[in-house]
């Protein structure tokens, strides 16, 4: 790979990595699709969500270059929005889980 023309501030990663991530994502998609048909009880949801989270992290880290982002603030933005999303989900569900009749 002739990378000599990449300018200094370029944040691209090696092409091999991109293809690797791509392949992993496809494999994970296949896995999650097949696993859904296997009886795992409550763990079906867990597995599905864990795989989705892994895939999302891969995309964010490598395709969106969070991995290499020099910018700490970008990571902070991502984490902050996830944190506030969890607040929304968590505190709302806190109401529903503690209602006497449900």
């Amino acid at each position: 790979m002739a990378d000599h023309s990449i300018s200094e501030h370029s944040k691209s990663l090696p092409l091999k990595l991109y293809f690797g991530v791509w392949a992993t994502l496809l494999i994970l998609t296949y896995v999650t699709y097949r696993v859904a048909y296997v009886e795992l009880g409550p763990f079906n949801s867990v597995v599905a969500l864990v795989i989705a989270a892994i895939k999302a992290t891969l995309v964010a880290l490598f395709f969106m270059h969070v991995w290499r982002a020099g910018e700490k603030f970008i990571k902070a933005v991502v984490l902050a929005s996830l944190f506030f999303l969890l607040l929304l989900l968590g505190l709302t569900m806190a109401d529903y889980m503690t209602r006497p009749w449900s």
Binding site: F73, L87, L88, L91, D95, T98
Partner: protein
């Protein structure tokens, strides 16, 4: 694209952002943050008077117990549109979009916001939203209350909820873009030497506000989409007939709308934090506590939303959690109040109009905030929720607090914005009238509320004992209306006849005062480099300096 340049009559004037270009397109297509701020100023004032007009009609109707001035439906539309206009089209954009837009880049020594075109776009979105809202109001209006609870708004009302929803959605987008612009600008565009600990607290307040705008507004946007789809497309999300839960709507709504109250108050706190040091010639007491309390309010503000739902049928335990957290968020507000007060100590205090507004803010915000503590107390909330006690609480904070701060800010920076001095005597008079009128309007409502008068009542002929207090309130509103008209008149007057202002008429700290009044298009003749702390009034006052001679 711009009109052919007319030769300016006032040739002798320094070139500034106002006289740089003339013609309507030079305004409508401007990307200058200062001009956009003025566009906002005009449009927001317009909506304020629309909202105020509705308020006067509300108060007139409540003068007598019977519903005799307007129909029940009309009354419901009046308070709905009063609330929607005041909140979404006046107070939320007010300080950020006018003073923030004007000042954020100048205070940090930047030439403009990071995304000037997005800034203009956000004004256009606001205008589009506002136009839709106006159209909605003129062709029937909405009667859901500004909180548009389901299933009333989704399945029962036959007014134009979807249209109002679209209007708010678009205005919300505008608010998001403003916040986004601020965050990026504050992170990326600070002048050399302008470190985080040297930022004016106005900037910290706007930073905190932007966090809320960015993380909260999208939730109300999607909530509106859900309700509108439920109404227009018969999708069922909250519909109890399908097994949906109307309380889920309330959770989503308040997840935005509680933090939104801090969108309204934080910028105003920022303004006051600029005014108080300047007119007491002191550095702010406890800089870092004031700065961090803004951030704390923004973050904790997201944790308390369900204190609006204590009697809504929520779980008792959730009620406990949210009550507790509401008190947690009150602590940073307390810190602010005490720091402002402490700043006055051993100061050298002048009573110019901005300072009078700031005093008004302090007193009224404190009363409003303290009554928030009543509301957050579970046992009391059950009795006073959905009564006039709540109405009084939030008007104390939003009108007595936020609007006072806004007016104070407008006066404080008016010389910078317009290049003219406003008439001081009139301004002090107006501040006094607003203060008195305000208290007369809203103090009786606390009593009404505890006596049990429910809010959103068009007719109270079953309880004529409430009339006396309502009459007082209406009388106050009339005075208040006059108080608001006054600044409108003399500020406009001063634009033409006012005395020209010097660059720094208050001898204030802050970069915005280090450039011309009005500032040139790119704000500074040359890139400022900051070597001093914020609020360095000691240095400013050290050599008894002469007032600069006004230009012209």
């Amino acid at each position: 694209m711009s009109m052919p340049n007319v030769v300016p009559q006032q040739r002798f004037e320094r070139e500034n952002y106002l006289n740089q270009e003339y013609g309507i397109w030079s305004w409508l297509l401007t990307t200058d943050h200062k001009r956009i701020a003025l566009l906002y100023l005009v449009s927001i004032t317009f909506f304020f008077f629309i909202g105020g007009f509705f308020a006067l009609l509300i108060r007139l109707e409540l003068l007598t117990p019977a519903g005799d001035l307007v129909q029940a439906d009309t009354y419901n539309k009046l308070f709905t549109m009063h609330g929607m206009v005041m909140i979404f089209f006046f107070l939320i954009p007010s300080i950020p979009a006018v003073l923030g837009n004007f000042l954020v880049p100048m205070m940090i020594g930047a030439k403009d916001l990071a995304f000037p075109r997005i800034n203009l776009l956000s004004w256009y979105l606001y205008i589009i939203g506002g136009t839709i809202m106006l159209h909605c109001m003129m062709t029937g209006g909405v009667d859901t209350g500004w909180t548009f609870y389901v299933p009333f708004s989704s399945n029962y009302t036959n007014t134009k909820f979807v249209e109002a929803g679209i209007a708010i959605f678009i205005a919300g987008f505008s608010s998001i873009l403003t916040g986004l612009n601020f965050v990026v600008t504050i992170h990326r565009m600070r002048a050399p030497g302008m470190t985080w600990s040297r930022l004016p607290l106005f900037i910290w307040a706007h930073y905190a506000t932007s966090i809320i705008q960015l993380l909260g507004t999208p939730v109300i946007a999607i909530t509106i989409v859900l309700v509108a789809c439920e109404r227009a497309l018969h999708l069922g999300i909250f519909d109890p007939r399908l097994g949906g839960d109307p309380l889920l709507f309330q959770h989503l709504f308040w997840f935005y709308s509680h933090p939104a109250v801090y969108i309204m108050i934080l910028p105003s706190m920022g303004v006051v934090t600029e005014i108080i040091p300047c007119f007491s010639r002191k550095r702010i007491f406890g800089y870092s506590f004031v700065a961090l309390s803004s951030i704390a309010i923004a973050v904790f503000g997201f944790l308390v939303w369900a204190h609006h739902m204590f009697v809504a049928g929520m779980s008792v335990y959730a009620g406990l959690v949210f009550s507790f957290l509401s008190y947690a968020v009150a602590v940073p507000s307390a810190i602010k109040v005490f720091n402002w007060t402490a700043t006055l100590y051993k100061g050298s205090i002048r009573y110019d109009a901005p300072m009078l507004y700031a005093f008004g803010f302090l007193g009224l915000f404190t009363i409003g905030g303290l009554t928030g503590l009543f509301l957050a107390a579970l046992g009391i909330n059950v009795h006073v929720t959905d009564t006039y006690f709540v109405v009084a609480h939030f008007h104390y904070i939003m009108v007595g607090g936020a609007v006072m701060g806004y007016l104070g800010g407008i006066h404080f920076w008016w010389p910078k914005i317009s290049g003219k001095l406003y008439p001081e005597g009139w301004a002090r008079l107006a501040a006094l009238i607003v203060f008195l009128g305000f208290n007369l309007t809203f103090f009786p409502q606390f009593i009404l509320g505890y006596m049990g008068m429910p809010r959103r009542y068009w007719d109270y002929s079953h309880m004529p004992e409430f009339q006396v207090l309502n009459v007082l309130s209406t009388a106050g509103a009339t005075i208040l209306g006059v108080g608001y008209l006054l600044p409108m008149v003399y500020l406009l007057w001063s634009m033409r006849y006012g005395k020209p202002a010097s660059d720094n008429p208050w001898n204030a700290a802050g970069l915005e005062w280090k450039t011309a009044s009005p500032p040139p298009t790119l704000n500074f003749e040359e890139q400022p480099v900051v070597t001093w702390e914020a609020y360095n009034y000691a240095e400013l006052d050290a050599p008894p300096r002469m007032q600069e001679v006004p230009v012209g």
